[in-house]
Symmetry: C2
Subunit: 313 residues, 2 copies
Amino acid sequence: MKILSLEEIKKRIDLQKIISMQEEGFKAYSNGEVIVPPVGHMHFDDPQADYHIKYGYIKGDELFVVKMGGIFYENMIRFNLPNLQAVMLVIDIKTGKLHYLLNDEGYLTNMRTSIAGLIAAKYLGPKQVGAIGILGTGNQARMQLSLLKDYTSCCKVYLWGRNLESAKQCKDDMVQDGFDVVIAETPKIVAQNCNLIVTTTSAEKPLLMANDIQPGTHITAMGADRPGKQELDPYIFFKADRCITDSKSQCIEHGDSHHAIKNGCISEVDLIELGEVIAKPELGRSNEQQITIADLTGVAIQDIQIAKSIISM
Amino acid sequence: MKILSLEEIKKRIDLQKIISMQEEGFKAYSNGEVIVPPVGHMHFDDPQADYHIKYGYIKGDELFVVKMGGIFYENMIRFNLPNLQAVMLVIDIKTGKLHYLLNDEGYLTNMRTSIAGLIAAKYLGPKQVGAIGILGTGNQARMQLSLLKDYTSCCKVYLWGRNLESAKQCKDDMVQDGFDVVIAETPKIVAQNCNLIVTTTSAEKPLLMANDIQPGTHITAMGADRPGKQELDPYIFFKADRCITDSKSQCIEHGDSHHAIKNGCISEVDLIELGEVIAKPELGRSNEQQITIADLTGVAIQDIQIAKSIISM
């Protein structure tokens, strides 16, 4: 059994290989080749936390992966620790032997989540990005933007956050990362100025409104990862030409798509999975005037594939 | 984060402390103080394996435990590895930080399972043990018997197994462990000669029949840990004075109790939980003529408590 620390894991990161394995994972998932049992869940009250156990494997693989992790909402404030905590175990499917413990402290979860945003932009985003919009000022806001360098050379960013102080800190980090960042006073300003928008907040009410979205815009919404959360006006789905999800069943249950279906703005059959678009790119954007959405809630195949990328290096 | 190997774990075993913590665990479980979400499950086809993720915590504890493990049915034959493979993770409930990985290779699962048998004998077994009956010749057969030394000085053992060669090997090990062992040709001979019987097989049809059970006998049945398995004639439950389970809900679903209820031999209200008996020993055996059953299917609280016993030493 090998244990890899966060430091050792970071040394093994090969971004292009990880992206390619994530794409393969999404394709396999949408093609019914992935076994992912129901996610295990525990909620803790004091301090507040939501813990999840996600696991599964691709049929024919020699390994399965168990990702255990959660959001401990008071970690940073009370203990000066990252709110996201997670580890991954890689286990032999033939013998049950534990081969690897990836003690990545949530890093790989953050990375696979951001890479899903990059893949969505790659298959759905506009060819010419005028400006990138980011809602939210947390870790995902920074990582999603940073990875978009792999998709576009556009450096112009409109950043909005609920808390101005956090927005300023986030802006500083993004500037350090090579971007030209304006803090927007409202999400509306972001919508009016950007044609590639990533939402990374924990909002429970719509931040982006349908009327403000410009033709040709792609939106990746990745904040609504559990019931009750919502970042998009359901009418954006009505207005959109393509509504893509990482997992139809999951997004119907608790993504932004859930709210759109509930409000009658789309029906379930309008949803296409990211894995289907990767397999058949013609299912994605077909002209520069279309509005596209990627509703990402996070699926175990992303954990499975990133763990495999790390151990195979 | 600390990793304890099997060797280090074995050095930390303090049997009396473990037994006492297991009893506390069963009590807390039956008293509604334990959070154990539904068990996660994966079945693998080639080679055949059943993998489970069991997890939970006692309300008010500072740690939760995740036990991941499975039976890989062809391990011994194909890879010369134990069929049972498991690891336990001990995680901080306040921060989500992984504190311990117990790489016990299934040893702690075997031990907590055997200790449940010992506890059942302690609260339900006859005062005078004439002979101990063991059905099955695997690891649990050996461990259950060995631990019974803590309950009775009786050394006389009737052992039955489906495969005579395995029975001979098992007998040799038991003799080495200080027992006087007779191989019984049938389970019936075991029933007729023993008043403390432990069944540890993977049978799918009854091995012990009601008519053969002697007055005053206690039976611990621990083989029926998943649907389809059965070791006891349902009419033993009808004949029995006390029907104890480790978990009512689980035994109703897939223990030997399940078959007894389905056949109308008892009803759900006749079942008492082991934790209730530990809290109120008068719920257990009240005279030496009674027949008692302990139907044990394995619950996460046993994993939680044994992991805690190991790390607190």
